[in-house]
């Protein structure tokens, strides 16, 4: 028996509103992150990720309020990413009810943040998001990008995954910048390399477009969860359809 493989919808939130929101039948307000989180939770989402893409630095009160309202109605784990730079930032969002915090550029800029947050709040709530692209400029060929995938760092993505694991990260959210938005399937090679190397769960992200992409990434890479955004937002697939498909393929899921 193993843990159920998780299916995680990701909501991009800007100034407290969902970006790319689509009006599903029955939703009062497609731009309300709380409504959408509830909707996905009812479809069987195993976790909800909010990615705060608000540009200003005073966004934490807004996202904390979104989390607070979500956690009154949604009873699965909630992860928040975007704009978290210090251990104090962790506290505010965790207090609002988030279960995990995802950090990306801020971990690259200050790797000690991973250690400090894990020590203070426990590894289980520290997710390090890694945006990787195959550039051939690092030993593994995969390079870490920051600033929403715009800026190359010269850092090897696979080695970085291992480093954050050793620093106390509890989970890695691995997004392929090559695959993101292409609907051509997850980056199986990069995901496999990271999943084989670290002793913590890996969430695969970027590129899924079909049911088979989900079963494939679980069958081939050893990852623990798969994350998708627009695929679910545009109603191309539902969380339930994905899980039914995985169940048929004998991949353990919570249904």
């Amino acid at each position: 028996m193993m843990l159920a493989k998780r299916i995680i919808p990701c909501l991009d939130v800007k100034d407290g509103r969902v970006v790319k929101g689509v009006n599903f039948v029955g939703l009062r307000d497609a731009g309300d992150p709380v409504e959408l989180a509830k909707f996905y939770s009812q479809q069987g989402a195993d976790e909800i990720v909010f990615l705060d893409i608000t540009a200003t630095s005073d966004n934490r009160d807004t996202i904390a309020d979104v989390v607070r309202r979500t956690c009154r109605e949604v009873f699965v784990p909630v992860t928040v990413g975007g704009g978290i730079r210090t251990v104090d930032d962790f506290r505010d969002v965790l207090r609002a009810g988030a279960d995990k915090i995802s950090i990306n550029s801020s971990a690259v800029k200050n790797p000690e943040l991973v250690n400090a947050a894990a020590k203070k709040y426990g590894s289980q709530c520290v997710v390090v998001a890694i945006d990787g692209r195959h550039t051939g400029k690092t030993p593994s060929g995969f390079e870490v990008y920051v600033a929403g995938g715009r800026t190359p760092t010269g850092i090897d993505a696979i080695a970085w995954a291992k480093e954050v694991y050793e620093r106390g990260a509890g989970e890695i959210l691995l997004t392929s910048m090559d695959k993101d938005g292409t609907k051509s399937g997850f980056d199986l090679e990069m995901t496999k390399q990271v999943a084989n190397l670290v002793g913590i769960p890996v969430i695969a992200s970027g590129g899924c477009g079909t049911l088979e992409h989900f079963s494939k990434v679980f069958e081939v890479t050893g990852c623990d969860a798969a994350l998708a955004a627009s695929l679910f937002h545009y109603g191309e697939l539902t969380v339930d359809e994905v899980k039914q498909h995985l169940k048929q393929k004998n991949i353990p899921v919570r249904i």
């Binding site: 028996m1 193993m2 843990l3 159920a4 998780r6 939770s41 195993d46 956690c71 009154r72 109605e73 009873f75 699965v76 784990p77 965790l94 207090r95 009810g97 279960d99 709040y121 426990g122 590894s123 289980q124 509890g170 989970e171 002793g199 913590i200 769960p201 623990d224 919570r254």
Partner: protein, 205 residues
């Protein structure tokens, strides 16, 4: 007014438990005084973090005696670390005494799988009880932990989960319940179990 007290000694999942009871429509109070615990119809002891820190924090809050008394006379539920605290002692960080309400100890999970166990795992019901009413064999609930209970008395073991080794997921003895998983984060199954507990307390709706 009849309510469920949620013991406030600084545990992280306190508000999640409060939100869930609000959602289910049961009166509840964050209990930071012994009086609130004494007057409650039922008590929930939440918990996240390391065992010795939590025991120290509980003692420092001055609520230990009220908690011990409540656990002997009314519906009482420990969640995650709150369940582990019901036992006699734990190995986490250093040997540390627990509340001693259930015989047994807390030990690191011995498994080849990744630790902590973070995620949804299936419940195996060993001894059905009031809280497992409507719960089906194999229902998934959400776990986050590296340590587990070893109840000395097998009759106390209500549910298990399989994580490369048999892991106690729930314990129950008379009015006393403990969930290693987080019912407040376990979707419909968790809601159903907390509703069952709330019904036992006969707290106001």
């Amino acid at each position: 007014m009849s309510y469920i007290a949620i013991v406030d000694y600084g545990a992280g999942n306190l508000m999640s438990v409060h939100n869930t009871l609000d959602f289910l429509g049961y009166d509840n109070k964050i209990a930071d005084t012994a009086e609130i615990i004494e007057n409650a119809a039922g008590v929930i002891l939440p918990g996240v973090g390391a065992f010795p820190d939590a025991m120290d924090a509980l003692h420092a809050s001055g609520l230990t005696d009220a908690v011990l008394k409540a656990a002997m006379e009314k519906p009482f539920l420990g969640i995650c670390l709150g369940m582990q605290m019901l036992f006699e002692e734990s190995d986490e960080v250093r040997l540390c005494k627990g509340l001693g309400l259930m015989p047994g100890r807390i030990e690191r999970i011995k498994t080849d799988f990744k630790l902590p166990q973070i995620g949804w795992n299936a419940l195996h019901i060993q001894r059905p009880n009031a809280m497992t009413a409507n719960v089906q064999e194999g229902d998934y609930v959400y776990f986050v932990h590296s340590f587990m209970a070893r109840p000395a008395n097998q009759d106390d073991l209500a549910c298990t989960t399989d994580y490369g080794t048999e892991v106690p997921a729930m314990v129950a003895r008379n009015n006393l319940f403990g969930c290693q998983f987080h019912p407040e984060k376990s979707g419909e199954v968790g809601l159903s179990m907390l509703r069952n507990f709330a019904k036992l307390t006969e707290a106001d709706r």
